[in-house]
């Protein structure tokens, strides 16, 4: 049933200490789970089972409850992001301008459906409107924004970030 691609957990002792400190501050706070998950994601970049278990045990919740919240909100991610996070806007304006094709081309170039490449360099996400519809269709790589994209520009942009 599990369909997530399994990336080995590489959390450090320092990250764990930081998380535990955050959790100590939240221990008797009502509604602690949301801030706990948000800060854990800030520390680790994503919310793997190892991290969610620490949160569940410390806050006295079951793992299923923590997982339920982590999968309810789209701000949380269960898979790590790549060194370069690629986003393609599939909001209305970008979509009618053909961002679906851009997305498909990136999938083809990276060889993944979504998530992260095996070398952990690139991750791919479909995003909602990022607020620059005038540039549609838009893709982003970390903080760089590429507007008025065409399919044949994709390979060149990805190449810029390789190695």
């Amino acid at each position: 049933m599990a369909n997530q691609q399994k990336i080995p957990f590489t959390g450090t002792k320092a990250q764990e200490q930081k998380l535990r400190k955050v959790l100590r501050g939240l221990k008797n706070v009502d509604g602690a789970l949301m801030p706990a998950l948000q800060q854990a994601q800030d520390i680790y970049g994503y919310l793997p089972i190892e991290v969610q278990e620490i949160i569940a045990d410390t806050l006295g919740l079951s793992l299923a409850e923590v997982y339920g919240v982590a999968t309810f909100y789209s701000q949380f991610t269960l898979t790590p992001k790549g060194k370069y996070k690629i986003g393609v806007c599939l909001g209305t304006a970008c979509y009618v301008k053909g961002s679906g094709d851009i997305y498909a081309e990136i999938q083809k170039q990276l060889g993944i459906e979504s998530g992260i490449t095996p070398d952990l360099q690139f991750s791919l996400d479909a995003t909602r409107c990022i607020g620059c519809c005038g540039l549609a269709p838009v893709m982003t790589v970390n903080d760089d924004v590429y507007g008025k994209m065409t399919k044949d520009q994709v390979a060149g942009i990805i190449a810029k970030y390789k190695n």
């Binding site: 049933m1 079951s62 299923a64 409850e65 339920g68």
Partner: protein
């Protein structure tokens, strides 16, 4: 008191009462689907909506508190239309294989659909894609029949405090499952089956073993033995229209023989045997300095909980196998030898109020004869199903009797099915073992009743013995915390996984939310067992003549080397989630 009108009928109720409860007082049943008394009140399904004068929209009666001067209407055209649409929307994404569904004719969704004259094809659209989870030996989850009522989640989280399932994802993709979408076998589920008992539809049921039992019965080479647990006789009648709290032991014995079992023995007998070993173990631990307190080991859901969540307390659990496992073990050793039967030809079927027993039979170190102690486990519900499938008119059957020799039991054995029963039975024997004198009073009333945690202190031969009895995992957790922190002064602790004990096990007949609303089912079922005990000629396990015979001619003393080989077992530490 709050005064309001429901359908123009004035009623006064206490503050904090919901519209649903207030309506009941004036004789109006508001339909519900996600609501279940003491377990789930979240107003999620919108089936219980009613009109409140002045309110902006319809409100959910199960969670809406009454207030002064309120005027409620429960059956207006608007209310009926809303309920009907809600049910039809649920039906649009429901796997409607009702004819062959386990819950056909006792499904709460089916009843509602009928009551509201629903058209199950009014909305046609996408269906959830989901696989059945058949990963465990005891339970099947089929989310294509799930209505997302969250009753199973509530019972797992709030009543059992295990919380291995929950809603995940959102919107149309919402589903009930385990963390990280592992299957149930990959989660620290204790196998209690309480989720099955609260499910309004056929999304949850036990893993059936009827076919392998039928195959064994049809095999001329096999000698097929049945052994029903104490609580089965206290619940089975409900499947045939008897009032709750009816003892159907005699009819059950007749039915089992008609189904083709070669011998019908009784797990009550091995409940007595358990007491012999467990009371002896307790006395030994008290004499030899522990480890104390000692926990009972009859409830496989409890044992599983301990292995997952409190492995440090494993040395405190009695090493006695459960009555079910002892039943198989003694049948395939003592009985096989006595009758000159090769144990490989024996096929032992236990009938249990329990789903965890289906898991227990697969545990390691449960094969005293060299063959599995137990070959198949049927729940009370599966037995009822077999009886119906065979065209046996249960209600008209003559009263039968369990067979000799392993069908002979005392009152101590029969009360095992109620919370506190094992404790009481053990005390009856332990006290006489310690004092060496026959006890006059055999009733230990302080450990009876359906309270979650019970405590009592008894003077035995100049010694003070403090005992605790807990049922339901949330209560077990409290006791475990106390013991683990070193703050307990208990000597002996009985724990049952299900609230109220085995009479309320996950394999017992399913009660709809309406029945649960109105009946103290735990006490009613338990009363069957206490009445049988009261009536019994022999009420102490060590007075059972067959038990005496088994020790005299075969096992030697309780706790002997041979008894250990056949009747005792060991436990393991379990990892909650494999990574």
């Amino acid at each position: 008191m709050i005064n309001l009108k429901i359908n123009n009928i004035p009623v006064s109720v206490e503050e904090g009462t919901t519209i649903l409860q207030a309506a009941k007082k004036v004789g109006i049943k508001i339909p519900t689907l996600c609501y279940m008394k003491d377990i789930n009140a979240i107003g999620a399904c919108r089936v219980c909506v009613v009109e409140v004068k002045g309110a902006r929209s319809l409100v959910a009666a199960c969670v809406y508190p009454v207030n002064e001067g309120m005027e409620v209407f429960t059956d207006t055209p608007k209310v009926r239309a809303s309920r009907k649409t809600t049910i039809e929307l649920i039906l649009s994404d429901h796997n409607k294989e009702c004819l062959s569904c386990d819950r056909n004719t006792h499904c709460e969704l089916q009843e509602l659909a009928f009551e509201y004259g629903c058209n199950d094809k009014r909305f046609v659209g996408a269906h959830h894609e989901c696989e059945k989870d058949t990963s465990t030996s005891y339970l099947v989850r089929d989310n294509s029949k799930c209505v997302l009522c969250r009753r199973c989640v509530a019972v797992c989280r709030k009543i059992q405090e295990v919380g291995v399932i929950g809603p995940e994802k959102r919107g149309f993709k919402t589903q009930i499952g385990c963390a990280f979408e592992t299957d149930l076998a990959g989660s620290p589920c204790v196998a209690c089956g309480q989720c099955i008992n609260v499910c309004p539809t056929g999304a949850l049921h036990e893993k059936e073993e009827i076919d392998i039992v039928r195959a064994a019965i049809a095999d001329p080479e096999k000698i097929v033995i049945a052994g029903p647990a104490p609580s089965v006789r206290a619940g089975l009648g409900e499947e045939f229209g008897y009032p709750m709290g009816t003892n159907v032991e005699g009819k059950m014995a007749t039915a089992l023989k008609m189904l083709g079992f070669d011998k019908v023995f009784d797990v009550n007998f091995t409940a007595d045997l358990t007491i012999m070993e467990e009371a002896n173990e307790l006395v030994e631990r008290v004499k030899n300095g522990g480890p104390l307190p000692m926990f009972t080991s009859c409830s496989p859901g409890w044992v599983r909980y301990l292995e997952y969540y409190y492995p440090e307390l494993i040395p405190n659990v009695s090493t006695c196998k459960s009555p079910q496992q002892m039943f198989g073990a003694i049948t395939k050793t003592y009985y096989a030898e006595k009758m000159g039967i090769d144990p490989s030809k024996l096929f032992v079927v236990s009938i249990m109020p329990c789903t965890a027993k289906k898991f227990e039979k697969t545990r390691d170190n449960q094969n005293a004869s060299g063959y599995p102690d137990i070959d198949a486990v049927l729940t009370t519900r599966e037995l009822a199903k077999m009886i119906k499938q065979n065209g046996i008119i249960f209600n008209e059957l003559p009263e039968g009797k369990m067979d000799d020799p392993l069908g002979v039991y005392t009152g101590a054995g029969v009360i095992f099915g109620a919370t506190g029963g094992v404790m009481e039975a053990a005390l009856r024997t332990a006290v006489e073992t310690i004092t060496g004198e026959p006890a006059q009073d055999v009733e230990y009333k302080k450990v009876r009743g359906t309270k979650g945690v019970k405590e009592a202190t008894y003077e035995v031969g100049g010694m003070k013995i403090k005992v605790a009895v807990a049922s339901g995992i949330s209560n077990a957790k409290k006791v475990c915390e106390k013991v683990a922190s070193g703050k307990s002064d208990y000597t002996f602790i009985e724990i049952m996984c299900c609230p109220g004990g085995c009479v309320n096990g996950g394999g017992q007949p399913i009660m709809s939310s309406v029945v649960r609303e109105n009946v103290d089912y735990k006490a009613l079922r338990a009363s069957v067992l206490y009445k049988a005990d009261k009536k019994a000629e022999l009420r102490k396990s060590h007075d059972n003549p067959v038990i005496k015979e088994v020790y005299d001619s075969y096992l030697g003393e309780p706790g002997s080397h041979k008894a250990h080989e056949i009747l005792h077992t060991s436990y393991v530490t379990r990892t909650r989630y494999e990574k």
